[in-house]
């Protein structure tokens, strides 16, 4: 495997035991790149993401990692049930176990140190997202994977999150992010992977996010 590659998917079929979502996916993720995973609703973005991070095993094919790669996963924030009485710090400490100082440092790096003692369920959408990013950073990842971190939050909070991710990326961490926001990805992503009608195409962001390509993928006709 080329030294620049972090991960290669080799003819992977992704899905669930009685439901194939994506077939014959072959793509690669490069080190130190910011990759966007885009596609219409139902195209299989989250399924592919979950296959990448090991939540769902591939139905067929292989995931080939370039050495020992630690993956930091940031789920959609509503995955954490409000029934759990956890503070921001405790959410991060779930992965750090006894390393309280490290957990606090991670919160600080995402600008959420002041939320350490607050109930996670009572935080705003943007605050929750940043605490979850801190949690993922607490695992000391080589590769950060995010599932729609800017969905459902206001533009200011979304911009703050993208700024944070850009800072994280600048430290050398590879990022893969599922998003619906083409404009946001046009400003931040270096590579794009499109999922469309079961097909996967990848390439540089400038090419993949051209007006024509976006209109074609979303089957829009602007006359």
């Amino acid at each position: 495997m080329h030294a620049d590659l972090l991960l290669q998917l080799d003819n992977v079929t992704a899905g669930y035991p009685r439901q194939v979502v994506l077939q014959s996916v072959t793509l690669s993720v490069q080190r130190n790149t910011f990759t966007a995973l885009l596609g219409p609703n139902g195209s299989g973005k989250t399924t592919l993401l979950k296959t990448l991070v090991g939540i769902i095993p591939p139905l067929q094919g292989k995931l080939i990692w370039n050495g020992q790669v630690r993956v930091g996963y940031v789920p959609q924030r509503d995955v954490l049930d409000s029934i759990f009485l956890l503070s921001g710090l405790e959410v991060v400490q779930m992965v750090t176990q006894s390393e309280k100082q490290w957990a606090l440092q991670c919160l600080q790096s995402t600008g959420t140190a002041d939320l350490a003692r607050k109930q996670f369920s009572q935080l705003s959408g943007g605050q929750k997202q940043r605490v979850l990013i801190a949690r993922a950073l607490a695992t000391r990842p080589d590769f950060l994977v995010l599932d729609e971190p800017t969905a459902g939050i206001d533009p200011t909070a979304a911009a703050a999150i993208m700024e944070l991710l850009a800072r994280i990326h600048a430290t050398g961490l590879a990022i893969l992010m599922v998003s619906h926001d083409v404009a946001l990805m046009r400003r931040n992503a270096q590579r794009v992977v499109w999922l469309h009608h079961g097909k996967v195409t990848e390439g540089p962001a400038a090419e993949m996010l051209s007006r024509e390509r976006v209109l074609e993928i979303f089957e829009l006709d602007l006359g």
Partner: protein
Amino acid sequence: METLREILDPDFLLRNSVCTSLLVGLAAPLVGIYLFLRRLVFMGVALPQISSCGIAFAFALQGWGLLPHAHDTAEEHALALLGSTVFTLAAIMVFAAFERRGRSTPEARIGAFYVLAGATSILLLVKNPFGEHGMLDMLKGEIIAVSDGELIFTAIILVFVTAPLIIFRKHFLMVSYDREMALTLKKPVLIWDGFLFALIGLTISTAVLSVGPLVTFGFLLLPPLIAHQFARTMRQFALVSSLIGGITAFIGFALAYRWDLPVGATDVVLLGLLLAAGWALKKLF
């Protein structure tokens, strides 16, 4: 006060019953919080019923001559615990398999298990001359005759269950509150789940044997429901749930003794009143 003085007397005749009640009251909520957090509350209804069905089945096997007749209460107790534990663990494995497949087990399915277990218990008891002895009192939650041996046995089991719940709480919480994160961190999720469910099963089967299914479910569910309204952290949630369970078990016993009522039903009604009081306080403040 007179009643309390009597109950706290070391020579109190029903001392073992008080202690058993207290042990279950303290331990069951620590398990119940996980059923609550994982939204498996209905499982907390069905499992005690299935557990008592296991006891009835064990006695039925004895009545039908398929198992040797128990000669003393210790053997009877062991037989009942075996039946209870086997049925409970089997049911847990079935429910856990449904939960793992991503379907929160439909209430209808669990409800069916509950009602079938209840009906089966009755049928097994009716025709079994050995099984009816002591079983009906147990099903009503009458904790009257508890031998020293049974008390020690119950204490050992519940301590054996409670210790891992405390020691490994971070692992159990991790797989309960964010299973996907645990998978990405390559935690052995199935093992931790299996361990937790085994502890839940053992607690329920031991508690059912001591206080019956109704009281077991009451202590599994109601203290966590009450505590969740006021707790600010998971640690507070666990501690307060357990304390509420223990204190209610003691006061419930005292009231039942004073007014000649079934202990189990008194405990559960007392918990219900506390829950209502908790709701009212929350509304007011």
